[in-house]
């Protein structure tokens, strides 16, 4: 993972309603020295953020090339080499400005547009992050408290990263990762700037990838045995069903919290990076069946079991459910509960 090019432009206003101030650099920022800390931060940015995943397209049509994609096409060759990184990013920064100005978005503050091209897992990526400064405090030599400003690299509010390799291959519909914030207005203008849209058939992919992500993580990262791995899948299934019942959006970080409460962040990160999962998961009912679980909760009862146990160790008869085998821990708990009676009656 290495940053090959990085450049900072700025398009921002300090207060609502003021004019936009624009300042474009004419040469790339160095990736040496102080900037090394920036590049570390930049690489982390997308790993820790809640992202959506999609492709270029306009109004749901991925055959149409949005402006952003056309610029990329202009500067990137088939080997993902950029003919002129500075010129490309300048054109994109101007495009950014024109989106804000054209749509008369007087409350959009803009910020530092950091463009960077990096390589990860042999794939070339181009990312743009819109960053702002944050105010901190420092302690002066006399131990008095003084103000201090830094670029907020902890949180990505707006940004997009394009997997150029996949994009060029034309085999993928999931090569843009983007974060657009929650406010509809911000979301809209930024998606318009990038020209990206969510993958329409995401549900199948994501439901499936979530399962493999859980299995993969439970098995390889946590070293759990098959029974526990299967329980993790069951918990995810249970949680997703529950959220669907409530009509809630299923979120990756929530699934992580529920399934791997003690390693939630690590799992979320892996699911994002390795399994290309976005924060807002689209769930496909058919693929969810491939979790091979049956589960339900209510009336003081929560039950989940493997689908293929039905008719073998689990029997259903007219509303009555019988388990001929139960987990040892449960059996122990029940027998403990009944012990004075079991001892007496039998």
């Amino acid at each position: 993972m290495a940053i090959k090019h990085v450049i900072i432009h700025v398009v921002k206003r300090d207060n609502d309603g003021e004019g936009l101030s624009k300042q474009l650099r004419n040469n790339e920022n160095s990736t040496e020295g102080m900037t090394a800390q920036l590049t570390d931060g930049l690489l982390e940015l997308f790993s820790n953020a809640h992202l959506n995943i999609g492709e270029f397209g306009v109004d749901g049509d991925n055959e149409v090339e949005p402006a952003f994609e056309q610029k990329l096409n202009k500067y990137y060759d088939d080997e993902c080499k950029c003919s002129d990184f500075v010129a490309l990013t300048k054109e994109l920064a101007n495009k950014y400005e024109s989106v804000i100005v054209g749509d008369q978005l007087h409350t959009v503050k803009g910020g530092y547009l950091v463009f960077y091209h990096y390589e990860r897992n042999d794939d070339d990526w181009l990312a743009v992050a819109i960053l702002n400064k944050t105010e901190g405090i420092d302690v002066a030599a006399d131990l008095e408290v003084v103000a201090s400003e830094i670029l907020d690299l902890k949180k990505l509010h707006l940004g997009a990263a394009i997997n150029l390799t996949q994009w060029k291959s034309e085999l993928s519909t999931r090569y843009v990762r983007f974060r657009t914030g929650l406010a509809a207005e911000v979301r809209d203008y930024f998606e318009k700037f990038i020209g990206c849209q969510r993958d329409k058939l995401a549900a199948t992919v994501e439901t499936k990838k979530l399962k493999s992500a859980i299995q993969d993580y439970a098995k390889n990262a946590c070293g759990m045995d098959d029974d526990v791995v299967s329980q993790k899948v069951a918990q995810a299934h249970d949680y997703i069903k529950e959220q669907q019942k409530l009509g809630n959006q299923v979120q990756l970080s929530h699934v992580s919290n529920h399934v791997f409460p003690d390693r939630a962040d690590e799992f979320t990160r892996q699911a994002r990076e390795i399994h290309d999962l976005p924060e807002e998961l689209a769930i496909d009912g058919k693929v969810l069946k491939s979790y091979k679980k049956l589960s339900g909760r209510g009336k003081g009862i929560a039950i989940s079991f493997d689908r293929d146990m039905l008719n073998t160790t689990v029997k259903y008869d007219d509303g009555e459910l019988t388990f001929s085998e139960i987990p040892d821990s449960l059996r122990a708990a029940i027998e403990e509960e009944l012990k004075d009676d079991l001892g007496k009656d039998n």
């Binding site: 042999d122 996949q166 085999l171 993928s172 199948t204 992919v205 058919k286």
Partner: protein
Amino acid sequence: MSTEILDAYALVLAALEKKELQDGEFKGWLRLTPQLKDKLELLAGEELTTGSYDLIRDGKPLSSANLSQLKQAHFQNNIRFHVELTAQKIKSDYAICSEWNELLANELRVKSPVKYIFFTNTMTLLTPDCKDEKYVNYLNVHKAYEFVKELAESTEGGDSTIFYERPLRFEFILNESDLDCSIDLDALQKLLSKDLHKEAITCLMCRELVSFLKDNASKQRFSYLIQHMDSLVSNVLLSYQSYVENYTFDKVRKEYLEKRTEYVSKIHGVFDNIATKLLSLPAGIWFATTQIKEVEIGGLETMAFVKNVSVVSTVVVLAVLLIVNLIGQFSTISIMSKEYRGVFDSLAKTYEDEASEIGKAEDDIKSAQAKVEFKLYVAIGATLFLVGLTIWMFCEAYNW
């Protein structure tokens, strides 16, 4: 339809490269062709595969794709899709599973067999036009279930518990080896469908099943039943036969005792019948006694002589008639004897355990027969003696 699905499954499974079984799914790399894509779409419709796959180009991971989004580029030679196939799916119209044992562990599919089967271990496809012995036997296994169910229902034990002195619960699961046995329940079904003794037949089948299977664990019972069906069938048949025999047993006992009394009194009746007739002989003698007159010597042409001759002749005729009659009784008795011997012999043969009792009853009849025959000889003797007496009287009348 089921055949198409299973064909598609077999085709895709065979085409998977570096295939491995993981978490209930076959996973492997597939070089996609338009034909395989159609098959996959069919399978995705059946939820046998997700329809969305990771793909690699020249061994390098490269995104993922949905079947419905494929472009021409996806069919390139250097691209492989990471396809997963559900390894087990047992539905009512088709089943995909590793082998017989997996299918036979599913009660529902034992109770109600599935016709289209694909075994992934052996890549075998079984369809109704298939002659595989195990398959044919499998399709018949449900008859054994229905047989048990019929009995269970008749004892109010739902579809899986036969109550006969104890509850005998079945779990309808089998092993592959059980399918080596062919299921032939025709004899039992025929028996069960009889109108006669219906309840008794059900009852004795339950009894046989219980005593046959009570020592097996409920999980093994059905399997044991299938394996030893022949011996169960013969047990039931034997049991039925002995039931039918026992059923008449009491009647038989009563019957031969009655027969004994009947024959004994019949035989005695033989003499009783003749006895009255015998009483006519003394009357004849008495008549002769009064009628025979002394006749002088040479008076052979006298009336008295004629009368005497006729008296004697009458007595003789009477005696002859009686004797003929008495002798006739012998043949009556011998006919009867033939009859009762026949009856008792067949009884003794049918009910061997009762043979000695039957023999005794027969002996009773035989002794009655002997007595009656003795009496008949006595009667014949007495008749001859009286005739002799009359002739003696006749001779005396001439003072010879």
